[in-house]
Symmetry: C2
C-alpha cells in the first residue's frame, strides 16, 4: 500500500488551465495543511494561491514529497518536466505521480532516485502483493460510499463524512481507493488498477481489523448500475464489508454518464441493489443516508430534492457541499453505535 | 487476444504425477485432433498415450506450437526445462505457456524466439489494449455458464454445450476465459488476470458482433456468491450480455469451496441473482438450464438430483459428463431461436 510522506510541494508544470489542475485544487481544498508550496515552470498560469518555492527552498520549509499535481495532455510525462523532477529528487524530495507512465520507467528519474535515496510513488499502481479475499469478518466499523453512477461525489462525500465524524469525536479514518484520494490521505489503493481476481482482497487490505469503535470511511468506485465498472464496485463492496453505505446521487441525472442507453436507477432500486450485494459479506449492511450532488440546482430546487429523497427512501438526505452534514452524520453514526 | 497456432506438441517435462498434468489431459480429452504428440524428458512417468516425438520430428509431423502442458511445482519454469524449450524454438515451434512467469522474461528463450521468428504465448497474460466496455448491444446470440460456486464445471459445461450445438447444426463457438480453455480453443482471454476496470470490456472483445443465428458459448468464471471473485463474475456477465445462462451446481456442496462461512445458494436464489445481474445489459437474459456435477453421486442419486433440480426450478437439468445433453441443448436452443 502506498505510504506517502507529507507535506507536499505541488508541481504545476507549465499548465495554463485549471482543468488540468483538478488534483492540485483537490489537495489544496482537502489538505491545505499538507501543502507547503507550489512550484511552477515559467509558462504556467494556474495559481493555487500557495507560496511559490523551488524544491530546495520547499525542502528547507519542511516539504517531504513533490506531487505532480497536474495532468499533462495525453497523460504522459512531458520530456521537459524530467529535469524539473530530477531537481526535486536532488533536493531530497520523494516524487509522487498520478500519471499513466511509471516514474521508474524514466531512466533519468530512476537513476536520480537511486543516487539520492528517495522514493518514487506512482499512485495509479497498486502494490505487488495483494492477497485473495478471505471473506473473514473484521473488527471495527466500516462505511462505504456508493453511487447511482460514476462521477457524482463518492470521494467528496467520504471525505466530508470522515472529517465531520472526526470533528464530532468519532475515531474515523478516510480510506482512499483512487489516485486523488490517495494523495489527500497519503495512503490507499487504486482499485481500478487492481487485477480483477484481487479487488475484494485489496479492499480487505485497505481497511484491516481495527478497534471496535473505529470507523473506516471508504471511498467508493463506479456503480453497480454501470455497464463497464459494476464488477469493480461489487468487489470493493464485498471486500469492504460495510456496516453502513451512503448512497450518492445527482438529482436530474437520468442516464449513466456517457452511456445514454443506460438509465440511472431510482434511489429505491439502488438501495435494494446495494444492500443485496453487500449482505453477501455483511448481513447487517444497510444504506443509512443519501448524499445529493445539487451543484446544478437553485437553493429552492436543492431543498426540494433533499425533501424528495427523504420522502422516497425514509433516510436522511444532504448535500455535503451545500448543506451541513453535522446532524446527518451524528444521527446515523449514533444510531449505528447504538445498534452495535 | 491470444491466437495460438495448432496443432500442438504437448511438453510434459519430467513430471511424475497426473495432478501436475491436468492441462495436458484436458487438451487430450477436448481436442485430441489438435494433439500431434507428447514430448517427455527422461524422468517423466506421465503418459497421455500419444506418440513420443522430439520437436524436430513433431514439426515434421505438422505440429506448430509446443504447449508447456504441465504445472511445475511452484508454478515457475524449472531451469532445466529452458534448453528443451529453446530446442523446440529452434525447430520452428511457437511456445505456449500457462505458467506464472512470462516466457519472454527468460533471456535464452526470448533470444531464441527472436532468432527463429516464433511467437511466445503466455496464456495467463491478457492482451495490452483492452477497451472500456461500451454497453452497446451486439448482434448474434450468447450463452454464458454461471455457477453457484467456483470449480464445479463451468468450463466443461460450456465446452460440452458448444460441441453438442455444433453437432446439431448450430453455428456455435466456444469462447475461453481461462488458461485451459484458451489452450483448447486456441484463442481467448484470461479474465482473472484483466485489470478490474477492463473486465466487462474484455468480455465484449471476446464475443464480438456475429451473424444473427451465431451462438457464442462463453466459459464462466467465479460466482456472484463468492466473497473473493464475484466482481470478476459480474464484469464477465455484463460484458457478455448473455441471452441465455446455464447454471452450474454441485448437489450436496453446501459451503463455498474454501470459505466455510459462506453458504452455497439454492438454485432459486442463484437464478434470481444471476438474472437480476445480467439484465443490466440484456433485458432478455435468463437461465435456461441447470448443469449438475454429479461425479460424487451414485446413478440413483444422480437421477434424483436431476429430477429435484427440475422440480425446484422448472428448468431442464443434466450432467454434461454422465447424462446426455442432446435433448436439453436442442430444447433450449430451439426455444430461444423461436423466441428471437
Amino acid at each position: 500500500m502506498h505510504q506517502i510522506r507529507k507535506p507536499y510541494l505541488l508541481f504545476l508544470g507549465d499548465v495554463t488551465s485549471d482543468i488540468f489542475a483538478k488534483t492540485a485544487h483537490g489537495l489544496k481544498d482537502w489538505c491545505p495543511e499538507d501543502c507547503v508550496a507550489q512550484w511552477r515552470l515559467p509558462d504556467a498560469t494556474v495559481d493555487l494561491g500557495l507560496p511559490d518555492l523551488a524544491p530546495g527552498d520547499a525542502a528547507a520549509a519542511g516539504a517531504r514529497s513533490l506531487v505532480v499535481a497536474v495532468a499533462p495532455i495525453g497523460g504522459a510525462l512531458p520530456a521537459h518536466w524530467v529535469p524539473a523532477i530530477t531537481m526535486a529528487v536532488a533536493a531530497g524530495l520523494d516524487i509522487v505521480s498520478g500519471m499513466h507512465g511509471a516514474l521508474a520507467d524514466v531512466p533519468a528519474i530512476a537513476a536520480a532516485a537511486r543516487q539520492h535515496g528517495v522514493a518514487l510513488h506512482d499512485v495509479r499502481q497498486p502494490p505487488a502483493a495483494i492477497p485473495i479475499a478471505t471473506g473473514r469478518r473484521r473488527s471495527g466499523r466500516r462505511l462505504l460510499t456508493v453511487g447511482t453512477d460514476c462521477a457524482l461525489g463518492k470521494k467528496y462525500t467520504a471525505l466530508a463524512i470522515a472529517r465531520e465524524m472526526q470533528r464530532q469525536g468519532f475515531d474515523a479514518t478516510f480510506r482512499a481507493t483512487g489516485q486523488t484520494g490517495i494523495l489527500i490521505a497519503g495512503s490507499g489503493l487504486p482499485m481500478d488498477a487492481v487485477v480483477s481476481d484481487f479487488v475484494a482482497g485489496a479492499a480487505e487490505m485497505l481497511s484491516p481489523d481495527a478497534p471496535a469503535d473505529h470507523w473506516d470511511i471508504i471511498e467508493g468506485q463506479g456503480s453497480l448500475f454501470h455497464p463497464a465498472y459494476a464488477g469493480v464496485t461489487l468487489g470493493l463492496i464485498h471486500g469492504s464489508q460495510p456496516d453502513a453505505m451512503v448512497l450518492c446521487h445527482e438529482p436530474g441525472r437520468t442516464r449513466i454518464n456517457g452511456y445514454p442507453d443506460y438509465p440511472v436507477p431510482s434511489l429505491a432500486e439502488a438501495i435494494q441493489g446495494f444492500e443485496a450485494a453487500a449482505r453477501l459479506t455483511n448481513k447487517a449492511a444497510r444504506v443509512v443516508a443519501i448524499s445529493l450532488n445539487t451543484a446544478r440546482l437553485t437553493d429552492t430546487q436543492r431543498e426540494q430534492a433533499i425533501a424528495a429523497a427523504t420522502a422516497e427512501t425514509g433516510l436522511p438526505a444532504f448535500d455535503p457541499v451545500a448543506s451541513g452534514i453535522a446532524a446527518v452524520v451524528g444521527g446515523f453514526a449514533g444510531a449505528l453505535d447504538h445498534a452495535a
